[in-house]
């Protein structure tokens, strides 16, 4: 039977209400909050030639800052991957007094203004701070070196790993590792071959998010980094310096590099993870 809806080609009514309205509001929000600032960033860049752009982003001091930032962020992300996994494990698998408190503590880096964290870390690790005084005689310098930068990055990004791994671990029934044990696997083998593969996508995503977050971190790092040119300057500082000099175009150019790297990484993780999840849920691997 031909109805009016068929003739006009309008879609059949959806069962779930509010699709048009909710999608519309979502897209408007995303446009205003995310896309508009990004567009203006690229708008700034339209004033310069490609050669000029290339010259700005490959300036020696800026390149040195890329290396410092990426290196420190990588170290911070790897450290967080290990300890974040451990923390998530402890929070999910065991019961102990103070568990709720530890759980709440995980979100502290999100809640704390990053500048406060930065000042606190700098005070602690400077040569006359509590930790600095202990480490100094051993010849370990944390404040004003790249170690300090990595430390500040690790502080601000630890929740990403914990909070992405935690729910996945909660979904993994105890029975699965019990099954591995009844089949004769050692604890280490059971972890490596049964538990870790399950957590792997979440762990990689969490580590990736932590890494990307560290790339853009500014407040927490700036007080502990020392900011010596070519040695402990991070990319975010280079952007800040350009802005101080009213060089908006230069700032935007460097910012676009950070943005591009972050976006590419997030996209790659998403695609890779999608494939893995599909296998778990029954699609062809």
């Amino acid at each position: 039977m031909i109805t009016l809806a068929n003739i006009t080609g309008s879609a059949p009514k959806r069962v779930l209400p509010g699709f048009g309205l909710s999608l519309g509001i979502s897209l408007t929000f995303v446009s205003l909050m995310l896309l508009l600032p990004m567009t203006s960033l690229f708008g700034q860049l339209s004033g310069i030639s490609l050669a000029e752009y290339w010259r700005i982003i490959t300036d020696g001091r800026v390149v040195a800052s890329y290396i410092v930032t990426i290196g420190a962020a990588a170290v911070a992300a790897l450290v967080n991957a290990a300890f974040g996994l451990l923390l998530a494990w402890v929070l999910v698998r065991y019961d102990f007094p103070g568990k709720r408190l530890l759980d709440a503590l995980m979100d502290l880096p999100f809640a704390l203004p990053t500048a406060v964290a930065g000042i606190t870390l700098a005070t602690l690790y400077s040569s006359n701070g509590w930790m600095g005084r202990l480490l100094d005689p051993l010849g370990i310098q944390v404040a004003y070196t790249w170690v300090g930068i990595a430390l500040a990055m690790a502080f601000t990004s630890i929740p990403f790993v914990v909070r992405t791994v935690q729910p996945v671990l909660e979904d993994l029934p105890n029975e699965v590792d019990e099954a591995a044990l009844t089949l004769g696997a050692s604890d280490a083998t059971a972890f490596r071959r049964v538990i870790l593969p399950h957590l792997w996508p979440a762990l990689v995503t969490g580590t990736g998010l932590a890494f990307v977050r560290s790339l853009g971190e500014f407040g927490a790092i700036i007080f502990i980094a020392g900011n010596a040119p070519y040695e402990t300057e991070i990319t975010a500082l280079m952007i800040f310096v350009r802005l101080q000099e009213y060089d908006y175009v230069g700032a935007s150019a460097i910012a676009s590099v950070v943005l591009a790297v972050s976006l590419a990484l997030l996209l790659a993780i998403n695609i890779w993870q999608g494939r893995f999840i599909k296998r778990l849920h029954g699609g062809r691997g």
Partner: protein, 363 residues
């Protein structure tokens, strides 16, 4: 491999999940642990497996044959364990799941990869899943997943196979099929198996012997026939099937309850409660000499080979259930609202104080 449990007890915090238990399971036997939830049956199974530790006091013992495994870790007990929700490794193919136990063996004992492949394919053939070796668990149905889990548990040729509500998560038809198939497999491979279930039909159909448990205690251990015919106490009787109750005063060998009367010459005077199975009730147009139990039919449901008829009467606090054969059903032309007479072929009575059963066959 026989299993012998001596004095096995378990407390969780302050609740006693298992009172000290002794249990002997013979070599090659298929034993069902049957009980309502919270009866301690799963705890007992997990203690046999080594997934749970029995209490240190009283010092219990678990023996597999001559081997004392009380202190042996689960991975060295040589058991196969099948979980209710399969617990398959979802990131591995069916093949890798079944091969897991073989591939994690210490390098010296591990079979060659060719031999592993051959063994896994034999196992998959046995569970009729040869064509599914490359699939992932999420691509299989529940019944297929449980078969994979069984093949995985059998890959190491365990002495003892333990199954925790293995068919609990499956639908009735698949459950029926897997049950028969497990029985067949058990008879063919001749391992010793213990399985947990809360489904009395499953326990009675599958087991050589059934261990009935409640509240952390073993109520009775017997063959399915003996269990049904001679239940040790009221709990076992009530748990193994539907029960009709008849409560009344006995005087001079006749039990009276409202306008219902039943000759019970064996009983002394006093208040009594009798229990009757639905299939032990006959329905008739007229009362018999021994029984005058007028009832009204309130609902009729033909289920398979028999018809279940629900009966009510003003002298009955709770409705009765009678199962009649189709032939009788048609002869009496039973319809809803019809008045009939129930005639017990047999009744049971449990003395709560001694928990000793008494039964009588009514004339």
């Amino acid at each position: 491999m026989s299993i012998r449990l001596t004095n096995i007890a378990k407390t969780f915090g302050r609740t006693q999940a298992l009172e000290p238990i002794n249990l002997d399971i013979h070599d090659g036997e298929l034993v069902g642990l049957l009980g309502p939830s919270g009866s301690g049956k799963t705890t007992l199974l997990r203690i046999i497996a080594g997934l749970e530790q029995a209490d240190a006091k009283p010092a219990g013992r678990i023996q597999f044959g001559e081997r004392d495994v009380t202190q042996v870790h689960v991975r060295d007990r040589r058991i196969g364990f099948v979980f209710q929700h399969y617990a398959l490794f979802r990131h591995m193919t069916v093949f890798d799941n079944v091969a897991f136990g073989l591939t994690v063996m210490p390098r010296k004992e591990r079979p060659s990869s060719g031999e592993i492949r051959a063994r896994v394919h034999r196992l998959l053939e046995m569970v009729q899943l040869e064509d599914f070796a490359k699939r992932y668990p999420a691509q299989l149905s529940g019944g297929q997943q449980q078969r994979v889990s069984l093949a995985r548990a059998l890959a190491l040729r365990p002495d003892v196979l333990l199954l925790d509500e293995p068919f609990g998560a499956l639908d009735a038809k698949v459950r029926q099929e897997l049950r028969r198939w497990l029985r067949h497999l058990h008879d063919e491979l001749n391992f010793t198996s213990v399985f947990v279930t809360h489904d009395q039909e499953e326990a009675l159909e599958l087991s050589d012997r059934v261990v009935v448990m409640s509240n952390g205690r073993i109520e009775q251990i017997d063959t399915p026939e003996a269990l049904y015919r001679a239940p040790a106490n009221r709990f076992v009787f009530e748990f193994l099937g539907d029960v009709n109750r008849l409560e009344g005063d006995v005087r001079d060998g006749v039990l009276t309850c409202g306008d219902a009367r039943l000759a019970v010459s064996e009983l002394d005077d006093g208040r009594e409660e009798l229990l009757l199975r639905p299939h032990e009730l006959k329905l008739a147009d007229a009362p018999s000499d021994a029984a005058q139990l007028p009832v009204t039919v309130t609902s009729i449901s033909p289920i398979g080979a028999e018809v279940r008829v629900e009966l009510e009467a003003d002298w009955l606090p709770a409705p009765w259930l009678a199962t009649v054969r189709h032939a009788d059903f048609e002869r009496l032309a039973i319809s809803r609202g019809q008045r009939l007479y129930a005639i017990p072929r047999r009744w049971h009575r449990f003395d709560d104080a001694t928990a000793k059963p008494r039964q009588a066959t009514a004339a």
